[in-house]
Subunit: 196 residues, 2 copies
DNA sequence: AAGTTACTAGAACGAGCGCTCTATTCAGCG
DNA sequence: CGCTGAATAGAGCGCTCGTTCTAGTAACTT
């Protein structure tokens, strides 16, 4: 996280690798041994740093991924004054990242969240927290642009949901178009508030 | 499928159970033995009807689930003349189903699609087909309401994506609100086309 | 009635899972 | 130097996975 980044510690490597693998393969589809292998750590090290086992690793990984996405969101929203343009920029940014990863690196928490829905595991909670945080960031931006509290909240919920869904659609169809379309339409929707 | 429904055959039971389990637990998280058990079939029967193994079962199940959702979509859209009201009714309908299932029965293909993204398995293809089919249904409705071809397509893509994402958000937060909000905002968005 | 096909039934296999356990290495410190 | 605790290393446990295989049963054909 520091600009003058030291070589990541074993613990950090485990978290980073776990985040990427869960993002791509889901929670169930990712094995502890695979995480250890790709992080150049051994099984012993993983259980040393995360006595809680696989679930504890996943919680740390998802928390990290959630924060990372928050930063991306904040940076992109800060880059544009007009809220319509800002939200559309987010969609474009997501589309870029998706294409560059070969349509593999989508939303970091969706896959894990869906797999653990029935259970009331800690993973569920972390995913819910991440989603709430992202909504809050968008709502904050809208409020700063003159939206009422209620409008900001409802539109922010819609924006996060739409981006989430458009990203999945984009991944499945291997095309930027769903995200581009969502960006344009969300911009149009937000425009109906600012120009009214 | 018939109104005078005969007791479902073994093959039908396998497909129905597999569809529900994959919807709730994902592809990786659902075992062939679990499917056989809950469908009151034996392993031998499963492999008799689906020599292709687990993937073949999943393909059949996802195809069925995709069609079932298509019917729900068509019925709900047919129930309202105004396109805004029609799309909002879809969101309400999804919210109802979600709540009634204890926030467990979400989109039938999202989970499986996300898990198999890297691989170019047949499952991917079925999910992509389902999504395209749903978009087509929404686009058809919009075109029937006077939308141009291009507008209809772009808005339909956005609608399906937004509903998809809102459903995931609703599941994670165990609340109808994300879907309700998405429904209201999508209606507002569509209104900007019909009243222009 | 005999033969053939469609279906049911479940034991068994190798592989991989999450996790535990013991052994070893290594840095810091009195 | 010897002690100590953190970190590394990986063999092995019990279990479940998807799949295969061999039998047994039911139903239709001729």
């Amino acid at each position: 996280m520091s600009l003058y980044s030291a070589p990541p510690s074993t613990r950090e490597r485990i978290v980073l690798v776990a985040a990427r693998l869960i993002q791509r393969q889901g929670y169930v589809g990712t094995g502890i041994k695979q995480i250890a292998g790709e992080a150049q750590a051994t099984l012993g090290s993983v259980y040393h740093f995360f006595p809680g086992g696989k679930e504890a690793v996943a919680v740390a990984a998802l928390r990290h991924a959630g924060k990372e996405f928050s930063w991306l969101l904040e940076d992109t929203l800060r880059g544009e004054d007009d809220p319509s343009a800002a939200v559309e920029a987010c969609a474009v940014e997501l589309a870029r990242g998706l294409r560059e990863s070969g349509w593999v690196d989508g939303c970091p928490v969706t896959a894990a969240a869906l797999e653990t829905l029935g259970t009331d595991s800690a993973i569920q909670q972390v995913c819910a927290e991440a989603l709430r945080g992202w909504e809050k960031i968008v709502a904050e931006k809208l409020r700063a642009c003159g939206f009422t509290d209620q409008d900001a909240r409802e539109v922010a919920t819609t924006v996060i949901g739409a981006l989430e869904g458009a990203e999945v659609t984009a991944q499945v169809s291997r095309s930027e178009e769903p995200l581009r379309a969502a960006g344009r339409q969300l911009a149009r929707l937000i425009g109906t508030y600012t120009q009214a």
